[in-house]
Amino acid sequence: MSGFPTLLYKELVRFWKVAFQTVAAPVLTALLYLVVFAHALEGRVSVYDGVSYTAFLLPGLVMMSVLQNAFANSSSSLIQSKITGNVVFLLLPPISYLEFFAAYLAAAMVRGLVVGGAVLAVTAPLVPLPLAQPAWVLGFALLGSAILGALGVIAGLWADKFDQLAAFQNFVIMPLTFLSGVFYSIHSLPAFWQALSHFNPFFYMIDGFRYGFFGRSDVSPMASLAVVATCFAALALAALALLRSGYKLRG
């Protein structure tokens, strides 16, 4: 038998044991964003015809929660294990680098999807959302969480200290998330910023996800899917290459 199921289970137990901090807290954060931005901007920002700003905002916030929590799960688990040294318990058994990656990735995806699902569930009675293409919703949620889970593995391997991880989060993840169209449709942006947004992979994740709800999007969902799938493939390959080489794990 393989060590993969146990490692996945351990990663799930790890965040579930502190669910207040890893699930409840980010759900509350998303709700606060929703309340504040909806209150401040409802009726002032033009989005899609016939779609209220609050309804437009909500899928963006859900996806943002999925992405941030997927990243947080794999990156913080890895760096904690490295710093405390208990990663050695995973390096001594016959676990392949592929199994290692798959376990961290799957746990990160589960955490992202649990948080995103909870945000949706909690807001469902308050903000009615259409569900034009459920398969796209699910597909983009899966791919988005996988991308950030893989990125979390890379960042967790790379970082030697919590500060470095925090810097990665604050200077890479946060700007990319906030400039991705969570809070607005990029069509409302000046041309320059609109063009720049097209280089932000997060934009495609959120745009594609939103398409699943409204059946409308800034770019074609097929194009978004292609970009997002390519991103995932590239990051997964990079993470696997690092793990395979033993980067910062096997000296």
Binding site: T6, Y9, K17, F89, L92, P94, R250
Partner: protein
């Protein structure tokens, strides 16, 4: 017969530091083997190479025939390692820790064995205690238990008794001896040389990444150590006797090395002939500390001294 551990021309460099240089030796199955050397000699690095935690720059290591890189799955199943650092996962209890470790080796339904290990390591009462709440000594025992969950045939312990109190140490050694009697190969590094002397049948000494001595404990003690005698007599010089060399003297007190008991007899005989009166007399048996110090002082100096003795 396949060696329990076969190390061939292993080298490892950290920047400018040669942590291991051309290390080659074999450990037979069923042996109780000691790996000694001062801090920084490369013991942990060598163990890490055996465990696949560190990749050697050159050379190969096999555990019961399984190459630790090419056939790592088999090698790791055969090997149990107790790391030097006192690491633990603060999220889990003792039992959870051991169950997870079992699972990483692909084992399910291993609870009977886990209970048995906990019993022998006196961990049963703490089974459901969180790792954070354990004392250092108890954490060390959990590390030992973790290394055993998959019933490895070769067990490597990297300074398992560092910072562990005497009672615990005794208990741990009893347990490890039992494992060895049951046929497990034991590889041990320790700072307590008396322990190595009592436990290990064969010893390799490492210095600056090289094996400087490798022999049975008995031979090491015979060749390098000899008997040490402290005596004080009513004169300022001792008669010259074959097989006796003075290591230190202070007035009428002398510390001398005796090649063997024949040399002791000869010394006493010539003292009697000279009419010397012996006031104090203290004979120390050979000990590994002495061997260790002499080996570490440098192989050549020790050889020269041995030549002088003969």
């Amino acid at each position: 017969m396949t060696a329990a551990v076969e190390i061939r021309q292993v080298a490892k460099r950290y920047g400018a530091l040669q942590a291991l240089a051309d290390v080659s030796f074999e450990i037979a199955e069923g042996e109780f083997f000691g790996l000694l050397g001062p801090n920084g000699a490369g013991k942990t690095t060598l163990i890490s190479v055996i465990a696949g935690l560190v990749r050697a720059d050159a050379g190969t290591v096999r555990v019961l025939g399984a190459d630790v890189v090419a056939d790592y799955r088999r090698a790791r199943r055969l090997l149990g390692v107790v790391p030097q650092e006192l690491v633990f996962d603060p999220f889990f209890s003792v039992r959870e820790t051991l169950r997870f470790q079992s699972g990483y080796f692909g084992l399910r339904g291993n609870d009977a064995w886990i209970d048995e290990i906990m019993h022998y390591l006196d961990l049963t009462a703490k089974a459901d205690t969180n790792m954070r709440a354990l004392s250092g000594g108890m954490k060390r025992r959990v590390l030992v238990a973790q290394a055993l969950v998959h019933r490895p045939r070769v067990i490597v312990l990297d300074e398992p008794t560092a910072g562990v109190d005497v009672e615990l140490r005794q208990g741990l050694w009893q347990f490890v001896r039992r494992l060895n009697r049951d046929g497990h190969t034991i590889v041990l590094t320790t700072h307590y040389l008396e322990e190595a002397e009592q436990l290990c049948a064969r010893i390799a000494m490492l210095k600056a990444g090289r094996v400087v001595t490798l022999d049975s404990t008995r031979n090491l003690l015979d060749t390098f150590s000899g008997l040490q005698l402290k005596l004080s007599v009513d004169r300022f010089a001792l008669p010259v006797v074959d097989g006796v060399s003075v290591l230190a003297s202070q007035g009428e007190r002398f510390t001398v090395r005796l090649r063997d008991y024949v040399a002791l007899e000869a010394l006493l005989h010539s003292l009697r002939e000279a009419g010397a009166e012996i006031r104090e007399f203290e004979l120390a048996p050979p000990d590994l500390e002495e061997v260790f110090l002499r080996v570490m002082r440098g192989g050549e100096a020790a050889e020269a001294e041995r030549g002088a003795l003969a």
